[in-house]
């Protein structure tokens, strides 16, 4: 779609996007038909293939396969060599986006498609800033990150506000739009925020908003939002992305709340509606400086919001007082079309199954979700990056039940990347120490039983999905 300099061009674009979205939202039930010979009246089911992203020594290779449930693939001599991506996003079944996450730096990524010969080729090249989170919306893949504003926006003391930067990558024409929104006081409580998880459902974009304490700019501008002056750091500390300076509040004052921003129109022009709940803590998975998405729509458009309850891992010391959370892992939901959390729905995940806190989760299909749990309980959660997160379980949202996943290999080393769910089955990449190559395990959402599927001769696997051949 061509861009013009007229005002509100973006609104027009997104309105069209909304229409396009309405049209494509039916696509999962009604496959596009592409006749082999243009003009031929006969409809033909399009050729699709499963696409697997495998890594060897930090480089990714994209391979195609007819099935994820069985067989063997090898990267020796096969697979399209691409820049290793941290995040892979399937944009419908037309494109696969590889997003490179740079710790603080610029990334370049590309979109790929399946050509008529069954080879994966690069389509468009994109650039974007550091990614904190990503998602899809209409024709776009959206990435978001938080950074410091330029000096022109400094306050009287020279403090810089934090800014949320969005990149909308247009999958169809390869263009991209960049714009920003103030990350300070995003929720109205004076805190600066990160986004962790962008989920598209029912014509809306939901973003999980994670408050991150108050910057010096925030404290100067909204001093009334400081709940306890003792929380303000008196000395510099932290390192890399967690570095903080004296005069800041380095961690959130609200660890026991979850916030979801709801966009219905222009992502950048409107103030989103913020839904808040106090029944769970902030909704994202954490690992070092990464924020993982834990908000997912079920197939019927209801948005399920999971929180591991990381507020409990915060340590408050004499040197640095911080607000410690208490909420355990839990789930709440926003019903399709609503802008507030559903009062009737709350599940305490630590009251179910093995009663372990969760780390991450993904949607399978219908209303079932795959949860990754801390095998050693809350104490394990506090170990941070050394924690054992090898336990899996299936959560059935309507039934409010948790089924353990069984059948995973005894010598499990770890899971790779993002799993892929379709038709009540979840395919997750599993690496082992015993000598086998990594393989996809097919987990049945109804029973929780896992069986070994496709094996890939590579170092590790990142994800799988489906692409349609483009003619």
């Amino acid at each position: 779609m061509k861009n013009s300099a007229r005002p509100h061009a973006l609104l027009a674009v997104l309105a069209a996007v909304g229409l396009a979205f309405a049209a494509t939202s039916c696509s999962s039930d009604d496959p596009e038909t592409m006749p082999i010979n243009p003009g031929d009246a006969t409809d033909t089911i399009p050729a699709t293939a499963y696409v697997v992203a495998a890594t060897v020594d930090g480089t990714s290779y994209l391979l195609t396969t007819p099935s994820l449930s069985e067989g063997t693939l090898s990267v020796k001599g096969h697979g399209t060599e691409v820049n290793a991506a941290t995040y892979w996003v399937f944009k419908g079944q037309k494109y696969l986006f590889g997003l490179v996450y740079n710790q603080g730096g610029n990334g370049t990524g590309a979109s790929y498609y399946l050509d008529a010969a069954g080879t994966i080729r690069e389509k468009y090249l994109y650039e974007y800033n550091r990614i904190t989170t990503y998602g899809t919306w209409g024709q776009h893949v959206v990435t978001a990150s938080t950074g410091s504003a330029p000096a022109t926006q400094a306050d009287a003391e020279g403090n810089l506000p934090q800014v949320l930067l969005f990149n909308l990558l247009n999958a169809e024409d390869g263009s991209q739009t960049t714009a920003s929104v103030m990350a300070e006081n995003f929720l109205g409580n004076g805190e600066k925020v990160h986004l962790a998880g962008l989920a598209e459902a029912d014509g809306r974009l939901y973003a999980s908003v994670i408050p991150g304490g108050m910057s010096r700019y925030g404290i100067a501008r909204w001093p009334q939002c400081v709940t306890d002056p003792a929380l303000i750091a008196t000395a510099d500390g932290g390192s890399a992305s967690s570095a903080y300076t004296a005069g800041e509040i380095p961690s959130t004052q609200y660890p026991d709340s979850a916030y979801v921003a709801i966009y219905t129109g222009n992502l950048l022009q409107q103030t989103p509606h913020i839904a808040r709940t106090g029944r769970i803590g902030y909704a994202c998975g954490r690992y070092r400086s990464q924020y993982y998405q834990t908000i997912w729509p079920a197939d019927n458009g209801d948005l399920y919001v999971f929180s591991p309850g990381y507020g409990r891992t915060v340590e408050s010391t004499d040197d640095l007082k911080r607000v410690v959370g208490t909420k355990p892992s839990g789930v709440v939901r926003i019903k399709a079309g609503q802008t507030t959390f559903d009062d009737t729905y709350y599940v305490n995940l630590e009251a179910l199954g093995t009663q372990h806190p969760m780390f991450r989760c993904w949607h399978i299909s219908g209303d079932s979700f795959l949860l990754q749990l801390y095998r050693g309980g809350v104490d394990e959660m506090k170990k941070g990056k050394e924690a054992d997160v090898s336990e899996l379980a299936i959560f059935h949202a309507e039934a409010r039940t948790l089924i353990p996943v069984t059948g995973l290999p005894d010598d499990l080393a770890g899971f790779g990347g993002e799993p892929y769910g379709e038709n009540g089955k979840m395919y997750i990449a599993v690496s082992v120490t015993g000598g086998d190559y990594p393989a996809f395990y097919e987990i049945d959402a109804a029973t929780g039983r896992a069986v070994k599927g496709l094996t890939v001769e590579a170092d590790a696997l990142q994800t799988a999905g489906v692409l349609e051949m483009q003619r």
Binding site: V56, D57, L125, S239, V432, G435
Partner: protein
Amino acid sequence: MNRLHPLLSLLLALPAMSAEPALPADSLRPMEQTTLGEATVTTTRRDRVRRSAYSAVVADTRALQHRNLSLGQTLGTLPGLRLRQSGGVGSDSHLLIDGFGGRHVRIFVDGVPHEGSGMAMSLNNLPVDYAERVEVYKGVVPVTFGADAIGGVINVVTAQDPRPFALDASYTYGSFNTHKGHLRLLRRTGGGWTFALTAFQNYSDNDYRIDNWVRTFTVNDDGSVTRHPVDQSDVRHVRRFNDTFHNEAITARAGLTGTSWADRLWVTMTASQFYKEIQTGVYQDIVFGQKHRHGYSLSPAIDYSKRRIGGVLDVSLHADYTRNLTTNVDTAARYYNWLGDYYVTATQGEQSYQHAQQRNDAWNATAGLVWRPAHWHEVSLNHVYSAFRRTSRDYIGATATLTDYTIPKRSAKHITGLAWKVMPSERWNATAFAKHYAQSVRGAVSTSTDGVGNYEERHQTVTTWGLGAALTWFPLDGLQAKASYERACRLPTYDELFGDEDLEAGRTDLRPEHSHNVNLDLAYTRRFGRHSLRAEGTLLYRNTKDFIKRGIGKRGALQYGIYENHGRVRTRGYNLALRYTYGKWLAAGLTYNNTDTRDNEPRYTGGSGQANVHYGDRLPNIPYRYAGGDLTLRWPGILGQGTSLALTYDTSWQHAFPLYWESIGNADTKSYVPEQWSHNVALTLGLGQGRWTFTLQCDNLTDARLYDNFSLQKPGRALYVKARVSL
């Protein structure tokens, strides 16, 4: 081992010759020198290295000082050596010795470790005028260089001028607004006092053209920005605009020479600074317009040496301290494209917001003893202590307040070597040696879930040992054979452990590498009449384990380069060098290098029994086959007595090599550094017995697209003029 190139086989079949040449075989000085004593001294020292049992090559930089070259570039022409530059003047460079990258090569200046001296004094930023010669020891290193170097050691030897007065001055001007100057002054008084001053500077805008697609954009009325889709086939010839580099250095030395109690007692002070703009990220398609870094270094040093104490003992001592401060600046709220166009972004930092100062303190102390109880054998004992301390702090907010320094990262090394050399006859000599290495590393790591607080100081001590032997003999006149072996090791460098805080990330748990290194050399020199020929060949074998290898994108697909213990690597290779001169009129040389560095680790590392999918593959991103040649034609006396004109042509060829493992992935989709062929030409006029020279030089004559590294293009055709005087 690969078959010999057919051309080479032909050359090696040349008939044997005899008799003495008029000039040393590979001298490129345009004139006979009346300063004969000095040249002979140089030749003697160079020949001493050649005659030693070590597999070593020497670059006679004195013979190249009329050219516009950096010290790194002079080394790049030696057999087995390859220089990889990522751009023009001041760009990041690495020297490879037989395929072993920059980290495997230790640099010494006058026998003292050069690590930690800062960017302004790095090897490729030192002019050719800086050194008298450069020695390269490959794979098996004498104990006098207390170093952990699996690839080898480069020793830069600065002017060892015995004369009472010397003055060297040169000035270069050339393409891309390049200006380089060098000055050396030496004064020795009758009373034994020595004063020396060396100063040099390099400046270049490096605004050469490169070939890349361009991303255009439009700033919309609502403040958002649209970047247009990129057509990667639309490659433009664009000019670099944020690549200026300049460095300046001055060294002052005062002391005593040749007294009864000291052969040398010197105090030296070096001050240097640099400014470097950073045009691209690790790949050329990421463009920066204001990102830069700058820094300075100060280094006092003291040297003492005395030979023949009691007739049998040599002692040398050295100590130095270097303080260097580097500031990395990436604060611009701008996005630039290759046309130099930019728009104002909402967040600061073109790559990643940074305004940080890094401070390194380095200490070196070396002590060497050589005991010669009899003329046929000697024992040497050497100890080197090197320590680093690195810390950093940030400038924050619009007022650029400085935060506190972070918890410092420290590393200290003690390397001790003991050697016994026997030289019972002119026909052969041999050395056996043992080394001990100890390193202690300290850094702080956050162990909390969110990376805030809970710092644990990590401390690691590593000790290991090495040993080796070297033997040389002269079975026939003009023929020399050498064999050498070392169980070498390499301790992780501080850059691998701690990173340079900007484009690289580090780790603190690396193990040292160990390697069995074997060299076999054969050299043949033959002279007859005015002809002179020298042929040398080296066979090398390296069996390395816990190889620390650079990999791009390991930690979750970052475009940073990080290091890790990869496993086992086996290297087999050979290099050949030929040199022919005809009197004062012609000199020609040819080198050919082939190294096969293979992954020898059958298991996928990481504590797993999983098979390694690239077992047996050549290590990626390493040039493995390359060659060079040069030809000089000389017209002595062209403008009268004491003048000369010389025309030099040199060329370099490199086989294509893949960026990633060769056997993995569909070959049509893989990334390669393409085959390269480059040509340079220089014309030099010498006056006053070679004391004055004027050179016109053209680099990259064919304006080829040259890449030493994937995606980072080097300059196109460039012209330089250099004027030099040497009194």
